[in-house]
């Protein structure tokens, strides 16, 4: 079954983000990894790179297609999940845990970002427009 944990926020472009002590952790949602199918390469960004909200920060190649991860807010990349270089399949196996992609330090820690909660995101993935297959 598709998983929609309640401790993260979701973007329209299928990232999740979780506020943690050292910054904001970002990954690809379970729905997105399933749509992308078996991931075989993850192209990670460089550490300390500054990114704007909505900027592409990583690309993921699957057997079938390529997918992108966009920054949910403006900030600096303070950690990348190096494990994905050897085990890209972690994104498929544990998208909200071991398969996280980057950690960002937000420019403005107080910034309120307009994102979806689990219920809203789930509704989005179940909407007819998202049933199209690539």
């Amino acid at each position: 079954m598709m998983s929609f944990p309640g401790d993260v926020q979701y973007t329209e472009t299928h990232e999740w983000m979780r506020r943690e002590a050292d910054g904001v952790r970002v990954g690809l949602t379970d729905y997105a990894q399933s749509e992308l199918t078996d991931i075989v390469f993850v192209d990670l960004p460089e550490l300390n790179r500054h990114v704007d909200a909505g900027e592409e920060i990583a690309s993921l190649e699957s057997v079938k297609a390529v997918g992108y991860v966009y920054a949910p807010l403006a900030g600096t990349i303070v950690a990348v999940n190096e494990k994905l270089s050897k085990q890209p399949e972690l994104v498929n196996q544990d998208p909200y845990g071991e398969g996280w992609i980057v950690c960002l330090r937000p420019d403005d820690p107080e910034e309120v970002v307009d994102l979806l909660d689990a219920v809203g995101y789930r509704r989005k993935t179940e909407a007819p427009a998202d049933e199209e297959e690539s």
């Binding site: 199918t37 078996d38 075989v40 699957s62 297959e133």
Partner: protein
């Protein structure tokens, strides 16, 4: 959208479905990697009910088929088949298919779903005036492919009698109590069978095969695409089209020059300027259809199909390169993917050794 006769089974299995050539079919059941690797180690079962089955019946059946195919159909023995091409008037490939000769008066074609309507119209036009009738089985039959080193062992558990022995032969058999046509063919490079029967019998046959418990897994179109690319088998619409001749595509072996056929005259005059080659990437990334192939700073071709192979542990594919580039297996190339150049090498196809049985044609030559 056409539903497979096996739709209920796929739904129950939780398969992820995809639209392909107007059909809704399973893309994957578990993971693409697992399905593609299990097919080479044990066996995998594919729903290929979308494949167009056309039967030509009548005194002129073999002669009529020969008229539109590159293959000398009249020389194929009863119960045997061959890979053949349907060319247009320019000698380019309208479709690629398997032709099966039951007798000189009954010939079956198994062709690509995407070309079905086009094929039916073309055949009707070209058989007009001959003693032959065309029967279209679309929607009336199911078809599944049982592929892998354990395919024969699995089939024997549920079949009455022996399966067809040589590659590209077929026979009518009772399998799981159901009347089927079984051919020793496939699109994976493994030994295996393709089984055809009445639509309503599909779910029972599918379940009976999976119930043998011999390591067989259901697999989807995504794994099938990976497996065919590992073998360098072309897919019409990606690697073959109406602007590509059999000579460009390296399919000269599928052309018999013994008689006349549509496109022959043009094909005799055709200039070959490019050829189909395989490649394996040596750096991270996947090169897909349309990506440019370079030698040094010179663009020498384009990728037609590309994917990642878990069986080989590398991104692979095939494409067309200019003949003048003299691209030989082992040569280094670079492929441009989203502005980045990825190093790879031209590779001999197939990328993995074929495990198919000896064909009837080869067995005859040996005898």
């Amino acid at each position: 959208m056409r539903e497979s006769p096996l739709a209920s089974v796929h739904h129950a299995a939780g398969a992820r479905l995809v639209e392909f050539a107007g059909w809704r079919l399973p893309l994957q059941f578990s993971s693409i990697a697992e399905e593609a690797t299990t097919c080479r180690k044990a066996a995998a079962l594919f729903d290929i009910s979308h494949m167009g089955v056309l039967v030509l019946r009548g005194d002129d059946a073999a002669r009529a088929t020969r008229r539109v195919l590159t293959k000398e159909v009249t020389a194929i023995p009863d119960g045997c088949g061959a890979y053949a091409l349907l060319c247009n008037d320019s000698g380019c490939i309208r479709d690629d298919l398997i032709v099966m000769v039951e007798s000189p008066t009954c010939v079956a074609l198994v062709a690509n779903a995407i070309n079905h309507d086009k094929n039916v119209a073309w055949l009707r036009e070209h058989i007009a005036g001959l003693a032959v009738a065309l029967e279209d089985f679309r929607g009336r039959n199911f078809a599944v492919a049982l592929q892998g080193p354990r395919a024969e062992e699995i089939l024997r558990v549920v079949a009455d009698g022996d399966p067809p022995e040589h590659f590209a032969t077929f026979r009518r058999m009772t399998v799981a109590g159901l009347p089927l046509a079984v051919s020793r063919t496939g699109y994976t490079g493994e030994d295996g069978f393709e089984l055809f029967g009445e639509a309503e019998h599909g779910p029972a046959l599918w379940q009976a095969l999976l119930d043998t418990g011999l390591g067989l897994v259901p697999a989807g179109l995504a794994a099938r695409d990976v497996l065919r690319q590992e073998m360098g088998y072309p897919l019409w619409g990606q690697d073959l089209d109406e602007n590509t001749t059999p000579l460009d595509a390296g399919l000269k072996w599928a052309v018999d020059w013994t008689g006349d056929f549509v496109g022959r005259a043009a094909l005799e005059r055709a200039q070959v300027t490019r050829r189909r080659v395989g490649f394996v990437l040596e750096e991270p990334g996947v090169a897909r259809s349309g990506a440019i192939i370079l030698r040094g700073d010179t663009a020498v071709g384009r990728v037609a199909s590309g994917t990642y192979s878990h069986n080989l542990g590398a991104a692979i594919g095939q494409g067309y390169v200019d003949l003048a580039a003299n691209a030989e297996p082992g040569h280094e190339v670079e492929i441009e993917v989203r502005g980045r150049r990825i190093k790879g090498r031209i590779a001999k196809l197939p990328l993995l050794p074929a495990k198919t049985r000896m064909s009837w044609a080869k067995a005859r030559r040996k005898a």
